[in-house]
Amino acid sequence: MITPNSDQTGSLFRLATAGSVDDGKSTLVGRLLHDAQAILSDQLASVARTSAERGFDAGEALEQSDREELAEQPLDLALLTDGLRAEREQGITIDVAYRYFATDRRSFVLADCPGHVQYTRNTVTGTSTADAVVLLVDVRNGVVEQTRRHLAVATLLRVEHVIIAVNKIDAVDYSEEAFRAVEQDIRAVAAELGSPDPRVIPVSALHGDNVVTVSERTPWYRAPEHLGQALLPILEELPDADASLRSEEPLRLPVQTVIRPHQDYRGYAGQIASGFLQPGDRVRLQPGAHVTEVTAVERTELQTQLAGGEGMPQLAAPGESVTIQLAGEFDAARGTLITDPDRPAVELDELTTRVAWLADSPLKPGARVLFKHGTATVKALVTAIDDRLDLSTLSSEPAQELELNDIGTVQIKLASTLPVDDYSVSKRTGAALLIDPTDGNTLAAGMIRVPEPEEEPEAQSDEEWLSS
């Protein structure tokens, strides 16, 4: 099933891990990489050396640098991922580490996120780009506050697939009863948060049960009626959210920059956030009501060539970085959003957004921030804080301020109008950053809520506009 350096160019799947401290997250990631044979022998030897120094005994295999032998030795698999001095010294994960491995089916980018509460912002970082989140729960502790927090973050960020790895199942003698109790709790929390029904897997990261193959030691999970699957095969089969969902969304292309090498060429460069694009399409330039026609779409040869197999070679697809040309002349620049005129973005100068507050100093009403949305950054004022999510009760309560790691709803007044979408409709054009205008630090992840649709202003045709 696995070829470590498989030479295929299958799809790219982004995965994030989350969990509480000491629930074995680094070990699970180490196990996944190790058992998927993504660890090369020099890395393995380095881990074996350090493991041995710390009391794990890799013995002769290390001296012989024998890969087969080494693989059989007890290793501190967390050493594979904890890359910083402080992490290795303290045995904790401080920041997100990105790992790469591939199977015959798929290439994986894995964001290994820290569990400690003070590093929740890094979990938000890793989760924001993930197609799936693997959330670890220690079977002996069950659902703890960090589990709720991480599940809330995954739900809020609208991660497509949530997988709960109930770890350390070896520590409870592979007990089905212990697993079912945790499973029931986690499903209840997920239901309350309104997150999609998670996959729940009993796992021993230490011994590799149900990580790459289904374990003999959990026959109750293995039984056909449970359709138990190990973690890796599940990850290989899940649809990647990017491709399947974004293609149904209307066209959104934020203009990054205008390429103008000479008088006769004006190209608008950007990455297609959603929808498809081809020459002849009519598009709207937002903010504003100008509609015009796409006269050329420049894609890279690689994109054109590889899209050929997908049956839509003529269309530029979501995720592609393109440069397009438009009929007519207008004042489109960085910050302009090119949209489908039949399904445009909503233009707002006051909006409601859910935020994950990531800064040490609390957010209070009246705060002046920068609001970065797509390729536009505008000044903004936080006019009110509506509520914050109480993670123990999972209900929203009124709040005066938001503290580090709080999730809440705020009202924002923008210095100029932005074309936005609801985050539940578009992860790209519904997302925003709140930035500190003085030191430039990122304060919050913002997920825009758009009120029920109102009457859109009539879009002008380009002919009318050109003559006006």
Partner: protein, 295 residues
Amino acid sequence: MSSLARLEAESIHIIREVVAEFDRPAMLFSGGKDSVVMLHLAAKAFRPGPVPFPVVHIDTGHNFEEVIDFRDRTVERLGLRLVVGSVQELIDSGELQERADGTRNPLQTVPLLNTIRENRFDAVFGGARRDEDRARAKERILSLRDEFGQWNPRSQRPELWNLYNGRHTPGQHVRAFPISNWTELDVWRYIAAEDIELPPLYYAHHRPVFRRDGMIRAVGPHSLPTEEETVETLQVRYRTVGDMSCTGAVLSEATTNELVLQEVAAATVTERGATRADDRLSEAAMEDRKKDGYF
């Protein structure tokens, strides 16, 4: 979309974001495969226009001749401005001291930071990949550096979705790593798919070498065998082409992109483990260098 097409699109997006948001970007270009791929992506990002920034090479003075020649030809072909920061000049002026082990890679930090300061660059693209090293696996795509060029891994900004925040205060600058998410194999797949030219060192050739510390070292003006070390001529190629004094070759018969790709796919040792002495200095060698301002 295939993984390679997605990686390409993501890298082009990052390069365009940085160029659009910064006043004085520059790109590190050593002639090594990662920086060659990065520059190739930059050329794509702005075509039919030119690459809109200069390239920077921090020259250790111990480079392979083939690489310097390739660097100069590439710069000329793309009509770029080349800025060179020289380790040798700083050693000659007494600002830097040669290390006892003769390795010059860690010495690149000072000329790099000098070059950034003198040219007032506010963003510097680097071709580092997260799969190369545990410390690199931790770095953001846009990495804020303080006025001393230092990386503080414990207080990195959150990096959310594809909204890259490059804001910085005067004196600070940003390192941008557009191919962070590529693996060595992705790089070679891309080189093969796009038929990208590399320095000839990357392909199997015959060369006089000697063995030291389990590595195959080229014989050259900055890399001389001791009396106990025997010189032999072997068919080798390089997986990385850094400083001659700390870069080793691997035995190889791969003379084309396709053959190299097959060889890399079957490799059981990482490129750095195989060929970079400087990373063997300690468990956290890369982290320590990066904290000092290395790329």
